[in-house]
């Protein structure tokens, strides 16, 4: 009976993780696609030196950071994968979402400053609420860069 109960709890958690995780992921991607189109005019580059045309621009630090939690389904899927090896696709999509969301937040910040472009973009990632070997973990992606704002633009 105990075994059955544990199996039931496990399957319920797994199902919840899958259903809600999938739903969250689908919605997030929809939102990402839409906002990427809206913010396409804020050009993001990794160039370290501004183009000559930006020499008169003001510059400002902009950043975007995002924390996304792993769901139960992804944890179990990754655990199984780690027995065999190979791509953990469950985590790949998570990282992809976090990276793009962080970029969008940085672009959003740059837009409110009236910036035309962002140069010297850098990414950083870390694990937050580090799970110390148990429970669910979540990941943070931080992106930062230098926004170039035309003089006379909004501050």
């Amino acid at each position: 009976m105990e075994a059955l109960l544990q199996l039931g709890v496990f399957l319920t958690l797994l199902l919840c993780g899958y259903v809600f995780g999938r739903r969250a992921e689908r919605k997030h991607y929809q939102s990402i696609f839409q906002r990427e189109d809206e913010l396409r005019h804020i050009v993001v580059t990794t160039e370290r030196v501004p183009e000559p045309e930006f020499l008169q621009h003001r510059f400002h630090l902009v950043n975007g950071s995002v924390v996304i939690s792993v769901d139960y389904f992804k944890v179990v899927a990754a655990g199984l994968r780690s027995l065999i090896g190979g791509r953990i696709t469950a985590y790949e999509s998570l990282l992809d979402r976090a990276r793009r969301e962080a970029l969008l937040r940085m672009q959003e910040q740059a837009r409110t400053m009236g910036a035309e472009t962002i140069i010297n973009t850098k990414f950083e990632t870390s694990r937050v609420s580090g799970n110390a070997g148990q429970g669910l973990g979540s990941m943070e992606v931080l992106v930062y860069g230098t926004a170039l704002i035309p003089v006379g633009g909004r501050t």
Binding site: M1, A3, L4, Q6, L7, F10, L13, Y18, R22, E36, L39, R40, H41, I42, V43, V44, T45, E51, E53, Y72, F73, K74, V75, V76, A77, A78, G79, L80, R81, S82, L83, I84, R87, T89, A90, E92, S93, L95, D96, R97, R99, T117, N131, G133, Q134, G135
Partner: protein, 335 residues
């Protein structure tokens, strides 16, 4: 070089996969669980073959050590009071017990042998059954020695563990009304010892634990460990059910040789059935076969008139039940 005016649109599916994760997950799960179940099966079969080759003396050596400890801890020695060790602790330390009732009760070992007369009666019944066992088809192998212990515990239960030690609770005596029922339980536990089931369970448990540790030792997903552990346990409990059936069959041989009939043999099972009920659909999660099936098997082997609840409807053709030894019966009435 002209600069970008807009961010380029990057095609999807480079950094992430659009495939449904469920498909990958199911493949992985099926593969890993199948491999694990096969490995547990292999280890179980190995344990079944090899464990009986471990000399019985070794089992006894292990339990003797434990008996010495027990004597040191007995209240007679006027030692400072300490947490009473429970039989469950001991059972888990020894790793291998074959229970008649899967619910393991908490028992204080310092209550062992509080009823010297009843314990003696139990011992005598055991010895009589042993002589019948020697005459029956279920002949014990040499070197096997049995030790019978009576435990003050209200939960009806009996089990056999390493070194031929068989424990019976006073609770079991209170639900058995005839000696035949008690003899069935005792012979069942003696059959476990005789077939070296405790050492098999211990070996199998140790091997499977080792396997699980090897598979999941390096990683942190506790959920995964739990599901793998479940798969291992379920595979093992099917072996455990086989052992119970084997012990039932051997006990039937002993009872037939001892009493000449199987009247009353199902009394304890009937009792458990009426108290706890039975469920066929979850048999695969249990360490014991379901009660109805055990009773059914008893009936088919007995091929005689069996009473439904141990004596109420004793028909004309039914052989008479042997009454319980008064020393054992006394415990039932004691407060």
């Amino acid at each position: 070089m002209t600069r970008l005016r807009v961010n380029p649109k990057i095609p999807e599916g480079i950094n992430s996969s659009a495939e449904n994760p469920l498909k990958e997950f199911l493949w992985l799960l099926a593969g890993v669980v199948t491999t694990l179940v096969l490995a547990v099966l292999l280890f179980s079969v190995l344990a079944q073959w090899l464990a009986p080759l471990i000399p019985f003396r070794w089992e006894q050596a292990v339990t003797e050590l434990f008996e010495q400890q027990l004597n040191e801890e007995s209240p007679l020695n006027e030692e400072p009071p300490r947490e009473p060790e429970t039989a469950k602790d001991v059972a888990s330390r020894e790793g291998a017990t074959a229970h008649i009732n899967p619910a393991v009760p908490e028992m204080r070992l310092d209550e062992v042998d509080l009823f010297p007369a009843a314990a003696l009666a139990l011992q005598e019944l055991g010895e009589r059954l042993l002589r019948s066992q020697e005459r029956s088809a279920a002949r014990p192998s040499e070197h096997i020695q049995y030790h019978f212990h009576l435990l003050a515990e209200t939960t009806p239960n009996a089990w056999a563990t390493l070194g031929g030690h068989i424990f019976v609770t006073t609770g079991l005596l209170s639900v058995t009304r005839s000696e035949n029922a008690l003899a069935m339980v005792l012979s069942h536990e003696m059959a476990h010892v005789n077939h070296r089931h405790p050492i098999q369970s211990l070996s199998r448990g140790a091997l499977v634990q080792f396997l699980l540790l090897a598979v999941s030792g390096g990683q942190s997903a506790s959920a995964l460990n739990s599901v793998l552990g479940q798969a291992g346990l379920l595979t093992m409990s099917s072996f455990s059910r086989d052992m119970e059936r084997e012990a039932d069959a051997a006990a039937v041989q002993v009872l037939l040789s001892h009493y000449g009939h199987l009247q009353g043999a199902d009394e304890f099972f009937q009792q458990m059935l009426s108290e706890h009920g039975d469920s066929r659909w979850r048999e695969w999660t249990q360490t014991h076969p379901n009660l109805a099936a055990r009773i059914e098997r008893l009936k088919s082997q007995g091929a005689i008139v069996m009473t439904d609840s141990g004596g109420e409807s004793q028909g004309k053709g039914a052989p008479a039940l042997t009454p319980l030894d008064p020393r054992l019966g006394a415990i039932v009435t004691a407060p």
